[in-house]
């Protein structure tokens, strides 16, 4: 597919059913062991408000789980409480303790080009597609690469 043409396309035109049905969703009160077991199969988890709901409230990635395994230390100048969250001290109990709460999102009407530049700006490889606070799909760099090669 022509790159320029791809950039003009809207997310809803390119979104594949696979990226709508097969989302890794876990509720925010899920225990840390659930998170780890889901992460053995997927490299990220979208955290939703409660079981059955699709209201997106957070994200946990592989690297967040890795950080939990490292020995925790307090930074040079410490404020707030986020440095206190660690598996080592039993302070990371549920998904909501460790998730990213402020997410970069996109909507069905955004163009691929816009989504790509948002990913570049934020240093991310995957954005949730959100409509009215509910997650309806996800779009990843990997998938866009497949599109450019016409392998979808």
């Amino acid at each position: 597919m022509d790159l320029k043409e791809l950039h003009q396309k809207k997310i809803k035109e390119v979104l594949n059913e696979r990226h709508i049905l097969n989302l890794p969703l876990v509720s925010k009160d899920a225990g840390i062991n659930t998170i780890f077991s889901v992460l053995t199969g997927r490299d990220h988890i979208w955290i939703v408000d409660k079981k059955g709901s699709k209201k997106l409230v957070g994200l946990i990635t592989e690297s967040d789980a890795l950080k939990l395994l490292a020995p925790s230390r307090v930074p040079k100048y410490a404020f707030g409480w986020r440095h206190g969250i660690s598996l080592q001290y039993g302070t990371a109990k549920t998904a909501s303790d460790i998730m990213h709460k402020q997410l970069c999102i996109c909507s069905l009407d955004d163009t691929v080009g816009r989504v790509l530049s948002r990913m570049v700006n934020a240093g991310l490889r995957r954005l949730p597609v959100v409509e009215k606070d509910e997650i309806v799909g996800e779009i990843a760099v990997h998938y866009i690469l497949q599109l450019t090669l016409g392998k979808v």
Partner: protein, 388 residues
């Protein structure tokens, strides 16, 4: 000036690292390196003058960075989730500290402005040292640990609010209007930023630049209203903590501040430590420190007791909230820069606060170890849950 900055950075790094090794706050190492480089040790024998206006300027920027980072890290969302118990503990701690500080000044026969200024120094807790101590006791996950952490968040906020209400210049009615203007501006921007969140404007790293710029603009705004610059920087941090770029902004701003501006601020605090001040006012310093420690311990214990924590745990919380660190030093140097204290008193208060920082961070871990009693039925760490 250039040589001094270079030397100060190296010395601060070395002493800071040394203090980290012996499990003391890095900040104290940085202050000590300031004392070393200051007019009483190195400055006495070599031609080195650290307290020049240029370095004062850099230290001022360090203050703005420090408060901006603290606002960003604390964040409006965390404030909302702090809970009722944390709120009560923080309110009692903040108010009692302020009152005790005021009484210290009153007992020494100073005028009202000075009394209020001393009260302000007493308000802001720093939990860094408590977090470390609780980690070593494996108590961070306990009820006490969680209560200390959540109330410490609100504590900083209350400190800033009390500061903005008391440190302003001008007649009381004008001052109230100024404070109102400041907070109205804050909330207007807060909601504009919330609205702009999904906007389609893309300029790479725009938000990072805007964040730093707003830290300074808000500081200038606060200063023009007659409030202190640090209030502006803190609320600018809170403003930007709402964005999804918060973590990226912290990742960018933290190294900028931590590598250059903030250490130089703490070194300049150390350099202004006056040994002569100690001789005259030994009594004042001891009175000052003990009242500061007692105020927080009593206030927060009382707050915890009222919110239905048992006596021993309440005391532990009170002790855990005792340490003062970054914010107290920022408040002192701001107040000195605003010439609230007359000359000999300024040196005494500065010396008193530096010693307060050191003493509180030495005794808090010891007292916590004595007081903290692990609960029988505590939900022991997740390691068990994972294997079970």
């Amino acid at each position: 000036m250039l040589l001094e900055i270079g030397l100060a950075l190296i010395l601060a790094k070395l002493l800071g690292h040394l203090f980290e090794k012996i499990r003391q706050p890095i900040v104290i190492g940085e202050i000590l390196s300031g004392i070393v480089i200051g007019p009483f040790i190195i400055g006495k024998f070599f031609d080195i003058d650290f307290l020049t206006p240029e370095i004062e300027g850099i230290a001022q920027i360090g203050i703005i960075f420090l408060l901006f980072i603290s606002g960003l890290e604390i964040g409006t969302k965390e404030i909302k989730t702090a809970g009722k118990q944390g709120l009560i503990i923080a309110i009692f701690g903040a108010i009692l500290s302020f009152v005790f500080g005021y009484l210290v000044g009153y007992a020494m026969g100073y005028d009202t402005n000075v009394n209020i200024a001393i009260g302000n120094i007493f308000v802001a807790t720093s939990v860094g040292i408590t977090v470390r101590a609780l980690m070593e006791l494996d108590a961070l996950h306990s009820n006490i640990g969680q209560l200390i952490l959540t109330s410490a968040i609100l504590d900083d906020l209350f400190g800033m609010i009390i500061l903005s209400m008391t440190l302003g210049k001008g007649s009381p009615p004008m001052l109230i209007i100024k404070i109102l203007i400041f907070f109205i501006a804050f909330f207007l921007l807060y909601y504009t930023i919330k609205k702009l969140k999904g906007s389609k404007l893309y300029i790479p790293r725009l938000v990072l630049t805007l964040g730093i710029a707003f830290a300074f603009i808000f500081s200038a705004f606060a200063q023009n209203l007659g409030l202190a610059t640090i209030i502006g920087a803190f609320f600018a941090g809170l403003l930007f903590s709402n964005l999804s770029q918060r973590r990226r902004m912290l990742n960018a701003v933290r190294p900028m501040g931590e590598l250059f501006f903030i250490p130089l601020f703490f070194v300049s605090v150390g350099a202004s430590f006056d040994f002569n001040a100690l001789g005259d006012i030994g009594f004042f310093v001891i009175f000052f420190i003990s009242m500061a420690l007692l105020a927080k311990a009593i206030g927060c214990s009382l707050g915890a007791k009222i919110s239905k924590v048992n006596i021993r745990d309440s005391l532990t919380i009170g002790v855990g909230m005792m340490p003062r660190m970054e914010v107290a030093l920022v408040v002192v140097s701001t107040e000195i820069a605003r010439e609230i204290f007359k000359k000999p008193l300024a040196d005494q208060v500065m010396a008193g606060t530096i010693l307060l920082v050191i003493v509180s961070s030495l005794i808090t871990p010891l007292l916590l170890k004595r007081l903290y009693k692990p609960q029988e039925n505590k939900t022991k760490s997740v390691n068990n849950t994972l294997t079970s």
